[in-house]
Symmetry: C2
Subunit: 333 residues, 2 copies
């Protein structure tokens, strides 16, 4: 009886151990990635910094990874997806703004001529943003964003915008977090435009979202405290603004950074320039069939200097067409 019990226990234990090891070895953390240099470099980096006793070991509290959003985690063509939001808002608000009928960039926008509206450059863009992103409380703005996302669709793919995210990058986020990384978004996009949905879509909570912002002011309305969004720029989280914002929000230098355009250059330099093991990756949009193909001459997500620096510095370059088995996650409905 005792021997049977012992045998049972022993065999059970052995099976469990082997089963556990087998699982650890065979589960692919990045199933949507084709085997190749890019995938290998991600896994090698994670193993290197998480393995106890490794000369490259980094304690969990210092495992900070920062991700650009537009073109790195979700699509950015034919224009930044936040602009679709702004345009829909201009239409929705136009009845309250009769003066827009005679005023650019609104005249063109309301006629559906986006290109004409944006011909006014940065100033036109700024006017569109302020007209649609300011004047309400932060809570009200979050609700407006959520309501828009619930029904809006990308005109090209007809997908909800939150399904224009890259499945292979979702797997990288999950893989890093499973290895005790803290994952952050560091985007030129609006911080309060992203926060209402990043937790659900990327698993990234609001406190780990960094972005561009307009100023807010604190007010008591019938003794109810609110933050009102003002028509004044606060911070542009792009280019050299990215390391500055990372330092301001996180106070630690990331050990891994992910981007796709020249706007990410300084974030990648800041990350790669630290001591110890470092990882820098860029997504190169090479798939004109399944997504879009663009780089050095693109009006959105221009990838020129960073493509050169990636070669010099040995950063990982993802060839979207070759490296990714799928682009988007399965449709939700």
């Amino acid at each position: 009886m005792k021997r049977v019990l012992l045998a049972l226990l022993t065999s059970g234990f052995t099976a469990l151990t082997i089963g556990g090891l087998a699982t650890a070895q065979t589960v692919d953390p990045l199933p949507s990635w084709n085997n190749g240099k890019a995938k290998k470099s991600i896994i090698e980096f994670v193993v290197k910094v998480t393995k106890k006793g490794s000369p490259h070991f980094v304690p969990p509290s210092e495992r900070i990874a920062t991700f650009d959003n537009d073109g790195t985690l979700w699509a950015e063509q034919p224009m930044y997806l936040q602009l679709f939001f702004a345009l829909d808002r201009v239409k929705a608000l136009s009845s309250q703004h009769p003066e827009w009928k005679d005023k650019e960039p609104f005249v063109s926008l309301l006629k559906g001529d986006v290109k004409g509206a944006l011909a006014g450059g940065e100033q036109a863009m700024l006017e569109i943003v302020m007209a649609t992103h300011a004047g309400m409380t932060s809570d009200e703005f979050a609700q407006i964003v959520k309501d828009w996302l619930a029904t809006a669709k990308h005109p090209g793919t007809k997908r909800p915008f939150t399904e224009m995210v890259y499945q292979p990058m979702l797997e990288v986020l999950t893989y890093l977090r499973a290895n005790d990384f803290k994952t952050y978004i560091v985007s030129g996009g609006g911080i309060e435009f992203m926060r209402p949905w990043t937790e659900k879509v990327y698993g990234i909570p609001p406190e780990q979202v960094i972005g561009s912002s307009i100023k807010t002011k604190f007010e008591l309305r019938d003794s109810n405290p609110v933050l009102v969004r003002m028509s004044e720029l606060n911070f542009i989280d792009d280019k050299a603004g990215k390391p500055i914002a990372i330092n301001q929000h996180i106070g630690r230098r990331p050990i891994a950074a992910f981007g796709n355009s020249d706007g990410d250059l300084e974030m990648l330099q800041w990350t790669a320039g630290g001591t110890g093991a470092r990882f820098a990756l860029i997504v190169h949009h090479t798939d004109g069939v399944r997504e879009w193909a663009y780089d050095r001459k693109s009006h959105v997500g221009k990838l020129d200097k960073v493509l050169d620096e990636a070669q010099t510095e040995g950063w990982t370059v993802v060839d979207m067409k070759k490296d990714w088995k799928v682009i988007y996650p399965p449709a939700k409905r």
Copy 2:
């Protein structure tokens, strides 16, 4: 044999269960607090928002607690402790600045006349801060702060500044984190002055420290990326700046806030004004023997409006003299 085994197992199980319950009931999470209204209100709030099935239950991701630093987590008399740092830096740097011999506020400072130096008000303060907090990289500044803390002592208590923290508040921080709260500092003090030591002293990591800041700029020095601290104010994290910074950094409204002066009014209002269970606490400095006694007329940590609003709103007011068994933690050496 079977009966004996069963009895053993059963009695073991019972002992374990009762032992577990007894432990949960008898370990006091706030041993340095005298039993009274303040201590009771903290514990009741934590139990209310963490108990599953409670109508006041708050999911862990939304358990955000914000703490003022000066006068709430550590002492602020006879002047803000960061000013001692600035003054020591003026002395250390004076040989490199012969022009200070003829220039206020530096002339007075170098003669040891702090009161005279600060007679120049905000402008004098700003000049002292810029002369001592700007002009180096962020990494260099962090090292300067650490080096200073390693030897500097408070002139009154002769304690290292990092031992001028309040033991009862350290217990509140630990208690909240044990209940899955994220604890943040939201201070008028310098964000990069606090970050080098808050993790060790308070268990609060750099990414959960919010404070006032000067601007920084990104530079490549011999292709080495650095952030240089500039002589230009970026943000004053005080009064209405506190809810603004909380929204900017965290993107969620705290459910609990802790302060001690009128500079915390808007943070307390913003926190208390949300829906669901809310907690607001102020530390009232009433102990002229063990610490300092000051409130409505103090030049540092003025507590006037908030003391009135606490009465009206039913916020918890800590009477330091009556509520705290000890002020500081045991000396480290």
